[in-house]
Structure formats: C-alpha cells, structure tokens
Homo-oligomer: 363 residues x 4
Amino acid sequence: MAGNSFGQLFRITTFGESHGEAIGVIVDGCPAGLTVDLDYIQGELDKRKPGQSKITTQRKEADTVKILSGTFERKTTGTPIAMIIPNEDQRSKDYGHNVDVFRPSHADYTYQTKYGIRDHRGGGRSSARETAARVAAGALAKLLLKTQGIEVLAHVSSVGKIDAPNVSITSAEEFLAEREKNIVRCADPATAEEMIEFIDRIRKQGDTVGGKVSCHIQNCPVGLGDPVFDKLHADLGKAMLSINAVHGFEFGSGFSGSEMRGSEHNDIFVKSETGKVTTITNFSGGIQGGISNGMPIDFKVAFKPVATIMHNQQTVDSEGNAAEISGKGRHDPCVVPRAVPIVEAMAALVLADHWLRNRNSRL
Amino acid sequence: MAGNSFGQLFRITTFGESHGEAIGVIVDGCPAGLTVDLDYIQGELDKRKPGQSKITTQRKEADTVKILSGTFERKTTGTPIAMIIPNEDQRSKDYGHNVDVFRPSHADYTYQTKYGIRDHRGGGRSSARETAARVAAGALAKLLLKTQGIEVLAHVSSVGKIDAPNVSITSAEEFLAEREKNIVRCADPATAEEMIEFIDRIRKQGDTVGGKVSCHIQNCPVGLGDPVFDKLHADLGKAMLSINAVHGFEFGSGFSGSEMRGSEHNDIFVKSETGKVTTITNFSGGIQGGISNGMPIDFKVAFKPVATIMHNQQTVDSEGNAAEISGKGRHDPCVVPRAVPIVEAMAALVLADHWLRNRNSRL
Amino acid sequence: MAGNSFGQLFRITTFGESHGEAIGVIVDGCPAGLTVDLDYIQGELDKRKPGQSKITTQRKEADTVKILSGTFERKTTGTPIAMIIPNEDQRSKDYGHNVDVFRPSHADYTYQTKYGIRDHRGGGRSSARETAARVAAGALAKLLLKTQGIEVLAHVSSVGKIDAPNVSITSAEEFLAEREKNIVRCADPATAEEMIEFIDRIRKQGDTVGGKVSCHIQNCPVGLGDPVFDKLHADLGKAMLSINAVHGFEFGSGFSGSEMRGSEHNDIFVKSETGKVTTITNFSGGIQGGISNGMPIDFKVAFKPVATIMHNQQTVDSEGNAAEISGKGRHDPCVVPRAVPIVEAMAALVLADHWLRNRNSRL
Amino acid sequence: MAGNSFGQLFRITTFGESHGEAIGVIVDGCPAGLTVDLDYIQGELDKRKPGQSKITTQRKEADTVKILSGTFERKTTGTPIAMIIPNEDQRSKDYGHNVDVFRPSHADYTYQTKYGIRDHRGGGRSSARETAARVAAGALAKLLLKTQGIEVLAHVSSVGKIDAPNVSITSAEEFLAEREKNIVRCADPATAEEMIEFIDRIRKQGDTVGGKVSCHIQNCPVGLGDPVFDKLHADLGKAMLSINAVHGFEFGSGFSGSEMRGSEHNDIFVKSETGKVTTITNFSGGIQGGISNGMPIDFKVAFKPVATIMHNQQTVDSEGNAAEISGKGRHDPCVVPRAVPIVEAMAALVLADHWLRNRNSRL
C-alpha cells in the first residue's frame, strides 16, 4: 500500500536509498521451475549502471547483484526471490551543499513536506538508483517471458528534437545487436551518431536534455490484460510513468490517433496465411479492449530532461527563504540511454504478471 | 485481481454489462461522516449519459442511480456504498448482425479468445457503459475532495486537429459554467463552436473522430502520491488509460518536455507573498518525485476515434473467415464531450485514494 | 482495505445492512465457462434464511437472490458476477428502543465509537444478515469446486455441552441427506434430537446457547495453500473467525494436539493400494506446512451464544449513563443450525481461491 | 499474492530459506518519524534464537539483524525498511539423509508435490527459521504501538497437559520481568518449574510435546478492526495460524464460550469511575463486532508437538516407496518457549496495521 510494490501475481517489492548500504528487491509469485541465468540478470544491470560511456554519469558502480533466496540448483522454487545490490560509490559529501535547500524539479521539497524527514544525501529513495532493483526483477520476468517466446525490445527513438525513423524489427537478436553497437542505444545507426554528438554538446554546456524510448513487444499471445481497470496498456502506462523523469506515455496511434477518423484508424481483421487472425494496420498497438490481440505491442515513453544541471539556480531553503544552489555531483546529461533497460524491465514485469493472471481466465 | 477494482483505500469495484439488467459499483473505504448529495451524483451521471445532444449517440437512457447501502440519514457510515444504475434502452436486436463477426478495433476478438465466451449484445463488459458506474463513484470522491477544497476540472481541449487555446482557470464555478454552456464541453466558446460544427459534419458522414481532454486540479495539498510505484501521476495515468478509447496520457510538460533542456524545464522555487512555497513555472505539472507539490496538477488525455462507424467494413468471423460488417446501432461520432465527467471521476478517485493514504505518511 | 472483500483471485466484496434496501455481493475472478445453477445457489440460501423452524428466529425473509451481471446463457463470462438479495421483513420499529443504548456483547458501542455514526436499526452492517451474501458467493465457489470433485461438508457437532460423536463420512450425498433430515443440521440423528430439545428449552427461557460446527472437505487435491502467511489453515481460520459470533477455530488435532507428544502426533506416510501417498492418522487435518496433502481437511468452529436475549439487561447509553435494555425482536436461540451453510460457504471461498492460486505454482 | 506478505498498511514481506544465505523482511508502510531502537529489535530476536537453554534446540545462531534501508539518523523516513539476518550455523549435512524421503508431519511432501522442486536442506522455506524475520518486523510494530501505550504481552500458559493458572497482569514491565526469569517463559514461577522439568524429560526421550501460548494486549484503544472480513480477531487468528505448528486459536471465551448461555456470556457495560465505558466481564476478549472495545484483548494459541523426533519412523520416499527415517539434527523438544516472541510479533503486526487503518475510519 505504501507504493513500493508492483504487480499482482508476479509481484515485486523494492527497497533502498541511493546512499544507504544496499538496494534490492523481492520477487514474490515467480512460479517454480524457471531456470535463473544470473549472467543474463547481471547483463541487464550492466546496461543501466552508471559510468558506461562519455554520455552517462561518471559515477562508477559495479551494481553487482546477488540472489539471497528463492532458487535451488539454479531453478526457482516458488518461494520469494530476494536480490540485493550493494551501494558502492556514494560520495555523500557531494551532497553536503544540498542539506538545507530544495533542488529545483527534484523531490526534495515534496518528500520533506510529506514525511517531515528526508535523507538529503542524494535523492534518497527518490533517486533513480532504485530502478536498478527493477531491472534485476525485470530480467527475471524476461527470462519467464522467453520461455514463451515473448521478447521485449526497446530503444532510444528521440533525444531532444532528434527523432529516429521507425525501425522495422524482425529478429530480436539483430535488433539488440544493432542497438548495443552505439552508446545511446538507438537502433538506427545514423540517428544514433547525431544523438551522441548532441548529448555530448549539451553535457559540455552543463545542461541536460530529454528524450523518448520506444518499445516493441514480439510474440505476445492473445489474451493478456484484464478488463476493466487493469487493461494491459493501463498497467504498461502506470509502469512507465512510475519510472523517474517520465512525463508521458502513448501506445499504438497514441496522441496522433486523437486527430484521426474512425474510418482511417480501425484495424481491419484478416486471416493470415498461417490461419492466424491478424490486422492489416496496428493503430491499436496490439491491444484491443485492454487485452492483447496477438499483434506486436507498441508504445512510447517521454522523459523530461534530468533536473540536475551544472548551473547555479535560484531556489528556497527549508525555511522557505530564497537561496542559490550550485550544480555539483556527477549526473547524466540525458537519461534515455540508461532508461532503455528500465523500460524493458517494467514492461516485462507487466507482461509476466498478466501472463500468470491469464492462466485463470478460463475454467 | 481480475481487474474490476480500482484504488487502495478509496476502493471501487464495478460490475455489469451493456445489455444486462444493471450496472453498478461498490465503494469501499469511504470514511464515515461524509454528506452524500445524491443530486450532485445524479448531475455528474447526466453529463455522461447518452442522448444529450445532436453530437452524442441518440440512445436514450436516464441512468438513474440508486444507493443501496452505506449511508444513514444522508451521511456515509464507513460501510460499503453500493450504487446501482438499471439498464433501460438496450435494443439488443441492433446487435444481432454482429453475433458471429468481430467488429474492427473493438474488443470482440480479444474477449472471445481470452474467455472462450462472450456476451455479443453490444460490447458486454467492454462497453463504455461501464464508465457510468465510475462516474457515480467518482462523484462521491469529488464530494470528499470538496470538503478539502480540492476541485477537479476537465474540458475538451481538442477534437481532431482543432485545438483550444490554453484556458486560464481561476474560479471552479466560472470554469464549469462556461464549459457547460456548449454541448462539446470546451471551456473556450469560439473553439467549441468550431468543434461542434466539425463533429456534426463527421457524424453526417457516418464517421467518427478522436480528441483530447485536459484536466486541471486546483488546491491539491502537498504530499499526495506514494513513491516509488504509486507516484501520483502514475496512478492518474493508469486511471486515464483504463478509460475506453484512451491511447495516451501526459502531465506537466508531457511529450514536449522530452524536447526541452533542463535549464529551461526546471521549475524554480519561490516563496509566495503568503509565505507558501510555489514554483515560477509548472512544467512538473504539480507533481515532483511522484508527490503533489501544491501547484495545480495538469494532465492531458488522448482519445482515439470511436470504432463503430456507419460504413461497411471488412473483417473476419469467429471461424476466421472473411466477412463484412455493416454499421448499425446508435453511437457517438466523437466520445470526448461525454468523456469529460469520466476523466474527472477517475482523477477524483485517484486523489481521494491518495488523500486517505497520505494521512498515514507520518506518525 | 476496508474489510469488505475476501479472497485474492476468487475475490468477493459484500455490501448492505440489515435494514437497508438490499444486501449483495460481487464475485470477481471466477473463471469463464462455469455453469451457474441458480437453483443450487438459492438452495444454499434457503438453508441460511430465517424462519426455517421452531429453533430459528421467526423473522420471515425469502432471501431470493438475483444475478445482475457476469453470466451469459447460464455460464460465467469472466466478468464480475453481482448478486443481490432484497431486504424484506425489516420491522425497524422493533429496534426503536435501542436507538440510544448499547446492547451488551453487540457491536453497537464499537461501531458508534469507531465511526461516530451508526445505523441503529438492528445491527446495520454488523448484523449476521450480511452472511447471506457470503452464502450466495460461496455457493458459486462450491459449483467451481464440484467441477473438481471437491465437496465441503459441515454439520452441527455440538450445542452447548451436547457433543455429537464423530461422524464417518463416505458419500457426500448421504451425509447431506442425513444432515438435512433434522432442523438442527447434525448428521447424527440421536444427538440431533437431544440438541433440538435443548435449544427449544433454552428458547422458551428467553435465553440463547452456543455451539460448534465441524467441517470436512473431501477430495481436496495436494497443493492448495501458500506459504508462509497464506497457509491453507490460516486462511480457513480467518474465514471462519470472520463469521459473526465465532470465538475459536482449530484444525486437525487442534487444541488437544497441544497436549500430545510428537511420537503420537506424527502422521506416518504410506503408499495406498492405488499408489497414492496417504497418511495412517490425520492429526494434520489434511494440511502440512500450510499446504493440503490430499487427506480430508478437518476443522471445527466455536460459536458463542447469541447476544440478544429476551431478558432485561443493564447497560449504558450513548452518554455513558446507566440504562436498562429489554429483550425484544425476533432472534435465534442458537445460531449453529443456520451457520452450517455459512461455514461451508466460507470454506468453499478459501478453497476456490487457493485452487486458482495453485494453478500458478509451477511454470 | 504468493503468500509471503502480511498486513495491508503496515505490510511485511519476508524472504529466505533455512539453509540459504540469509533471511529477511521488508516493512512497507511504517509511517515516518518513528524512532528505531535497534537494540530492542535485537533483544526480541534473542528471545527467539536457537541455543538459549537446555530446553531449546542446541543449534547456535546469533541471528544478528541489520537494517539496510528506510531509516535516517535512527528515525523511519516513510520508505521501506529492509532488515536482513544472515544464516550461520546451517550444517546442511545433517539433512543429507533426508534428501529423498518425506519426513512425517513436515512440509516435505506437500512442497515437493506443489512445486515439483524442493530445497531439501532442512525445511527450506517451510522452516520456522522464517519466523525470525517476523520477529524483527514485529519488534518495529511494537515500537510503533508503544508510542500509543499499547503493550503486547504473551507467555507460555501450557506445556502438554500442564496448565498455568490465569496470571493477573497489571504492569507490563513486571509481567515481562517475571516471565523472563525462567527458560520456559511462563509468568507463573511454580508452573514454570514443572514445565521445564517435563520438557527436559521429554527431550531425553528423544520426543517432543506441544503447548499453548496466551496473549494479553493492554491499552488497545476502541476502534481497531474492520468489519466484516477483517475483524480484529479474524486477522489475529490468521496471524497466529500462520505460525509454524499452530493448530488452534481462540479469543475471549473461546471454545468454552460455545458451551455457555447468552445470559452468562454477555458482557455488561458500565461506566467506570474515570468515565470510561468498560464491561464487567470480558468474555468478548476485548473485541465486539470485530472491533476492539477498549478492554484487554485476550487470546490463546495451540501448538502441536514438533514433528522432528529422535526416533526411527516409517515413511515413504519420493517414489512413494516405503522407507525409514532416523531422527537426527538439532531440534526443539517443545516449541512454545521460543514461540512467545513470535506470537507477540504477529499480534503487534496486526495491531499496528489496524491502528493505521483506523485513522481513516472517519472523515
């Protein structure tokens, strides 16, 4: 109830602050018998960890995950799986100057006012560091989905006003290989180059910039999603909006769909050569009535620019008096390259949850 | 777990199909002592009911709500409040032609495949008729919020490509009075006229069109929203995305925020004349770190065009064979005028829930 | 969260007060495809309804149940099933004398103090009338269990100090036929006679008496129950303790097991002739480590005497001043004969829930 | 949903197996501002740890708890509190002989059948070792309750057929001091001596024996508990029944209440000298209609004898073939002395949860 759990049947609870001893997650509800590939989980974390390249924060943390429970001889046992990631490079002194002032567009003011107390070393619980725990749990969800052939594939589709063209995805392996070839995680190489250059320029200015991540889910069976409140896209939307810095979510035709006519927008059903029912277009984004229809699921997530900039800014202190804050610390000029695995993780958690839920849709 | 409940502490569970005997809702968790104004609840339902004007469906249903439990001498008693709305004008025969074919971009195919059974009279449970139950429950939530001075104010900000200018809202009463002066529920009179004309033209073509609803929440106290998964905007996003036909949600700077720089986007804190901490800009949309910061909460919801059009369309039948479907029945050419009270209701439910939750944030 | 829902996957939410318009229940999570036998549901309600015999309250209510949603052509569709039971014989005037005084060992004082408001016509929400909604939902759960061959069989095993001998149950049909032959619902005819006579004597004295209900579940598969908090017996215990007037629950060896030695109490595993693993004794009551082991599940529920007696009693009024209350109204001298279907209903709800949950125990 | 969480608002999720790396718990929902006394938490764990005396298991584990998150400068911050207890003395080889056979009245058979996989080193997740995590979380709940003056006080009231007389409790400190004077944790010194002698004799016989723990809660305010399913005693009952080896729960008059008449059993309300409403007797056990009435809450919990005995026993192996198991390992001859802090912890968790919930009972 206090907001640190996500999912109903494949349910995670995360804990930990940016400057505490460790962060972690408990996964409850993972069925027994799933083979746990720890290298895969670590590999997902490596895509999120700080210090990967010149366009991410220079903080260095190995983010090494350890499984404390719930597996036996590399298989899940049906009991809760606890994973822990120690905090390492915490330089709390970087934050000494922020003890008493509220950083603009951060959560300092709202946490302080809500709770009457706040761990002022970095963002505490509001730090995006918490998403490492999500990535670990999401990797487990992905392993579950892979047993069903479901692949969750995201990449950076925009940085600022630089938009990548639509990428046609056929093979998951090829897509991922292409995406991982560049440090911005855009599957279109030409755009990637442009993005990297732009982020690097922004970084040198001590500024930050927003961007978008697009996600495409392959081989989702028909039937995932529960009417009426837990529609698949509603749960995906909540999952994405719960990621730090996200300000928007759309699926299928999205916002542009609101400008279309029904006669253009309707996805006509046809029988494919294999006998499967498909649709000619996919403005529905693979979801109709809140339930997956077997077409690819497509959605897009908008991230605002990181709030920590290397400029001096006006603000107020905890007494409400005017104050100035100077930019210090080591932060990301653009969050989206590191957000890709987080988007995938959260999407995988939603799908794993609804895959389990759907097993009980019929007697 | 089966998706028919929403909220944690102010929790609703809806039931009913478009062509059954009744639809309804149980509200569990409403504190004792709230005065229940049944006329207000009915008034909210009247804004959602069909047959209001030439630009809505011509179906006629009074949508008269009845309270079965949970109140005593017009006050809530702390026990569950059941509200029921009988179905009246159901003309099931309008749907006889659809028994065996899947209507494009409806939920027929996904429901049939998921459950192996489907009430083919209209949308059954997937019909937007279910949202009447939400409006009834949301009206109760609004009454709760009004005791705290919180006002939830939505209007139609776009129809197709017609966008209303930003409306500056000072008084809730004036805003609502202005909005209710026209049948499209846009608070800008000049744009409203243009929208109405456009929808009427679309309707005559047997077509439909999408649109957007903007929502503005006044006087929200600091502190609503729970990190990390139940961020206020994440719960608002899920609430909105669970409404039929919604394809996108953004708050504050939204999608356009992803194109901005941190130095532009950061909302600078200042002390207002009254001593209250406010921000100069509000790109955060009134929410920072998932928690309300006392500024107005602003978000926007994108609706796709209604799928039922008065044209013949290709599709498949339940055997997967090619079939044709002809448009019959009485449907909305554009859903947004009737969606305004639904958006408000769902927002109110989220806020009421988090208002209760926030009472336990401190010892 | 407000206590009116029960179950996780097969989840019910009840509403209604003793003197309102109706009571009812929403069942959410019942899988699609279950055949709904309305006569069976009504038959279960008939076993709970008032006015059945000389040893139950003389109030007369038909307790006719109506299904408002969730079924199509007599099958469940996977959508929420709302059932409603109108209140009929409410004689609120019987309660006029109680407006301002707290009836001893009733919920008047605690409700008034907790909520600051109270429907003083009868018990309001605290009335055992609410259990009719549970019986309706439980009957649906029983229909689900019957598709798996699982039978939930309860009877009155004690009234006051009159204890029935252990009844050996082979056929569910025979057991139920025997039990329904007498008005006290004890499956041992000789004891039943004694119990009826005793209750009738108590009734004539204007007094009441407690009793016990024993429950036996046949053909429960191995695997129901979830460690560590949702052990099958823990959920059964909560279910039973949530029934009005219940003061104790035990399963298997129960309280007497606490006096035994391990060497006597351990249930030795053997391979039965059919190759099935069984145990020689069943002190475990069919549950080991919180999970059903395939043996019959046995538990016992203790009911206190009904608080409403036809004597004058000392008490206090809402100002805390001494007052006298005289016994009026029409009440049960002993609650257990009508509690049998409630015990069965609640047990069936727990089992149906765990049967669904167990489908996800393995990949 | 998978059974490893308990509570709604003060919610715990435990993880860990007896022979894994660590066990632990996340407490989510503890309000900000509670002072965390780590010594107190450790002190509670010390009362549960193995190796305390000659009448407990001789396994040695320090059970040192570490807080990983959720506090700042010794105060709770409103974020999830993770506590971890490393496993130390695990001698897995003690269990080598049990790999393939099902120990009688243990959870080996049910876990193996439910999950298809099982950590055969000790009980794995079914081991009572998991309760250490509950004790840590419960100690936090007790600290919360202590801010309200609420004291949860349990002791061993029976071992086998040896029953302690009713202990009259006035001061919490005195009661605890008396109880902790003897190794069996019975507050009646004479009975304690008899119990210790008896357990020691049983131990020497390689056998085990059951017992009962009685719990008494002081200064509980009126209003805790939620009708109709989450009655205070129903949640207490579930909490107790979820503890390993518990076979029965009763509160107030309990099972003996079922033999009483209403005229004897009703608790007459009176105004006390201080103006408070109290009852003359307390057969209700401090709870009426599922809600605390301000009187002491009294309940009793029955524990079966520990299943592990030092005798040879017949059983079956994983193929269902007859096998013999010999008693090895280091186990408790009687579980109740170490169960006292567990009973208190679980009761405290229920009360803390309902204390938070009750804050929203009124507007």
